[in-house]
């Protein structure tokens, strides 16, 4: 059910030109590499590099005084990879700032008794004071770990999420980790994700992946009886319950989800992952490192999948099923067939209200490409998309999704994005909270595509219905029709009195 349309390449090229013309030459040159127009890979032909013409550069340093939208390594480790592991206490190690800023920003849902055996929505910090900076914080860190052990005895481990100062003051958090792990007989994982490392949250993902490899895998004897249909879902953080929606679907086709990384996950799920038969990767960007490692070391193959919108759900389910053979394939076809009427009802209800609506995206992770088809399944068109912290391989993958002429922007600034939106005036922008208010003030409907605006899940068939409803609610809300002030209008003649 792929939609056929093409965006206006010339107009988009002109937009880029206009935007760049406002910069000093040097800055314009630097920024020009991040902006481009898609050549059109014509659907999903393998290997086609749809964005090659525009040569979008990505994963490059931000410029002081220009960029602010990206996060840091700490955000990538604490905020994305480690934070959702629910039975561990994640200490924001350093001053109070980072942890407080990020507290409850992502809606990583979970099941558990918060503060007893589960800690996701709590916030722990070693709350460095000046003396800790001057004299070092290792002693304090030990006390913090002891306190946590005492106050929350049901925790299954601790991670240390390093903030910037840790990397400067020469603390040996690895030594502390080893010492306390032994003492409390718990997993303690030091993560060197100081915010100044790398150019975005992306390096934090990598560091966090490596910490799993180095501090979790093969450290304990794992008692786990594996089965022929065991899979790990990797890189689904259960935003708004997405991972639950995915799990339900995978179980329906006959698979057993033995681990979900890391939404609603336990440490045990991470530990036993190497025993699964297949890794299903949702967020490639944040978890490809450890997946490749598992492939290499334990021989577990991995594949990407996409559960946004029925077209991708069907395609993904079928290719997953193929991996497991006829039995699963049969069940898969039945599941797909079962949901057909539901999909049809959703489409019939919402497509008339959404058909031809034009969407611009700007998000992190996998969403700048993965959600595209879900929009198209509803008759909507993607006119522009971009990543906050994508790499070259992200943009390559994007080529499979975008149509010719689509505007592509990497690590875009507020100024650039606003100019693009102003020029294109799409019917909907899907981006993050930072972009929400400026876009809405331009009179353009908006949905958060990081956190689904308190809604969700968007994965799976049920999620598609919610997704469709949310887009409809945003685009077709009556508030968008009410923007001109009466003192801006010409006075009507009813009372024959001149206004103004």
């Amino acid at each position: 059910m792929s939609l056929d349309y093409e965006n206006n390449s010339d107009f988009h090229a002109k937009l880029i030109e206009d935007v760049l013309s406002q910069y000093p030459d040097k800055a314009a040159k630097r920024r020009s590499k991040h902006l481009g127009v898609a050549t059109g890979g014509e659907g999903s032909s393998e290997g086609a590099n749809a964005v090659s013409e525009c040569d979008v550069k990505s994963n490059i340093k931000s410029v002081p005084g220009v960029m602010t939208i990206r996060g840091c390594a700490y955000a990538g480790s604490k905020g994305v990879v480690w934070g959702p592991i629910k039975d561990m206490v994640h200490i924001s190690h350093g001053p109070v700032g980072c942890g407080q800023y990020s507290w409850s920003q992502r809606r990583n849902y979970y099941v558990g008794l918060t503060g007893v055996d589960t800690f996701v929505t709590m916030q722990f910090t070693s709350d460095f004071q000046e003396k800790d900076i001057v004299f070092g914080g290792d002693k304090k860190l030990e006390k913090v770990i002891d306190e946590i052990e005492e106050l929350f005895p049901l925790n299954n481990g601790v991670t240390l999420q390093s903030e910037c100062p840790i990397g400067l003051i020469g603390d040996d958090i690895e030594a502390v980790s080893r010492k306390k792990a032994k003492e409390h007989k718990k997993t303690i994982v030091p993560v060197r994700c100081e915010g100044f490392r790398g150019v975005s949250q992306s390096l934090g993902h990598h560091i966090a992946n490596d910490a799993i490899r180095d501090w979790v895998f093969d450290k304990k004897k794992v008692e786990f009886e594996s089965g022929p249909f065991d899979v790990n879902v990797i890189g689904d953080y259960n935003i708004g319950g997405d991972a639950w929606a995915s799990r339900i679907l995978l179980e329906e086709v006959g698979l057993r989800v033995v681990g979900n990384w890391s939404g609603d996950a336990t440490l045990a799920e991470v530990e036993r992952a190497p025993k699964a038969k297949l890794n299903l990767i949702h967020c490639y960007r944040s978890m490809n490192y450890i997946s490749r490692h598992m492939e290499e070391k334990y021989g577990i193959p991995w594949m990407e999948y996409n559960f946004f919108g029925p077209s991708q759900i069907e395609a993904s389910l079928r290719s997953i099923a193929k991996h497991f053979g006829p039995e699963i394939e049969d069940r898969t076809e039945k599941v797909i067939a079962k949901y057909q009427p539901f999909v049809q009802a959703v489409t019939e209800k919402y497509q008339p209200r959404l058909d031809g609506k034009r969407v611009m995206l700007y998000v992190g992770g996998l969403r700048p490409r993965h959600v595209i088809t879900a929009y198209e399944d509803l008759g909507m068109e993607i006119v522009g998309t971009g990543y906050e912290f994508g790499h070259g391989d992200d943009y390559q993958r994007t080529g499979h999704y975008v149509k010719k002429g689509t505007l592509i922007y990497d690590d875009v600034t507020g100024y650039e994005l606003e100019k693009f939106i102003e020029g294109i005036r799409p019917d909907l922008v899907g981006s993050g909270i930072k972009e929400k208010y400026p876009v809405q003030k331009m009179g353009i409907p908006f949905r958060q595509m990081h956190s689904w605006d308190y809604s969700g899940p968007y994965h799976g068939y049920d999620g598609f219905a919610i997704f469709a409803r949310d887009m409809d609610l945003a685009i077709n809300n009556p508030v968008w029709g009410l923007y001109d002030a009466p003192w801006k209008k010409k006075a009507a003649s009813a009372t024959a009195v001149a206004a103004e």
Partner: protein, 460 residues
Amino acid sequence: MVRILPQTKSAAINPLKSSQPLGAAFAFLGINGAMPVFHGSQGCTSFALVLLVRHFKEPIPLQTTAMDEIAIVVGCADHLEEAILNLKARAKPRLIGICTTALVETRDEDIAGDLATIKRKRATELTGTEVVLARTPDFDGAIEEGWSKAVTAMIEGITRSRTQYRDPRKVAILPGSNITVADIEYLRETAQSFGLKPVILPDVSGALDGTVPDHWIPTTYGGTKVEDIRDLGGAMQCIAIGEQMRRPAEALQRLTGVPYVMFESLTGLKNADRFIWLLTAMSREQAPASVRRSRMHLQDAMLDGHFHLAGKKIAIASEPDQLYQFAGFFTGLGAEITAAVTTTGTSKILQVVPAETVQVGDLSDLERLAPGADLLVTHSHGRQAAKRLDIPLMRIGFPIFDRLGSQHKLTILYQGTRDMIYEVANIFQANQHPPTSGAPNPICSRELQNDLNSSSLARQ
């Protein structure tokens, strides 16, 4: 097109409406130096008084003709006369507003004739006090009708009918009963900010606003002056707010020739824009900076709030004008009115309520129609249905006895609409249902299933 459904039962169970004389008394409370009088047995007065006190949390002047068994046999006129004279002597009110109750109306006497006789006979004693009669039996209408009749009676009884000098800056504003003290003040300030001279009738922002006078005042204090009612014909324009005010506005036009403009509601950006545009046109002044700024604030609140209101299912029970006001507010932000219940089926405004049906009925009808809604909207007596249905309740209308400050809530024009958006959005934020691990999102799914299976597909 909305269908008006007639009452389904003979009984009223958990009635939505309050009695008509209470609406009339409420209107008289908006006149300076007024004393509303219930013409009936003393018990109604006492009861109504308590309800008014519980709602406004203020001392309320309200009097009674104290009809008793003997009076019922021999006729009401003597009690009426005695009450008026006693009141005049003790309280020296500028206005005595008689509201008839079921008791005296059941007897079907010539009350208007009686009153005319008393006024003639006692002309000297009554100098300086207007006496006005509103025929408001309990077995007809509700607060809106009582309010409307009292205002009409005041215009017909007090306003001078001969043509007079029209002050181009003077504007008569006739607000309906679904307006708060804060609304009245905001209306006045807004009109004044354009250099206009508003006369608001009735003006409940005086005696019912929670001021603390430093000595005992038996009547109302603050409110529309009787002289201002007398001189209403000097206005250039009349603005009627709410369908219920068409009757008094027409009375004014008939008497004095002052033309009127109807505002069915002043809530929501569009209505507020139209009102501001009218003030601009009348005053030939630009909208002042504070008004422009308020409009921007409202726009922003709409942006921030529409997200929380969009798609929400609202069940409202209210009198017709207020029903229209709030239904329009909600649908203007993308919510849907899934249940609408009102007191009487006669108001023309019901025809344009943005709902599929409007049920004439009571709170048991609301409770029957509301399951599945995200919000109940009615007065304080809806609280038990809200609890039983586990749906949050937004309190509007009369009575609101279990919350403070209901009279200081703004509900109209830019700022009032903004405040309401915040209030409602915050109710929804406080009552979110996150998804669970078992089902993706039981709330959403269930409702989607309902939607998909029901005729609502065809609706839009």
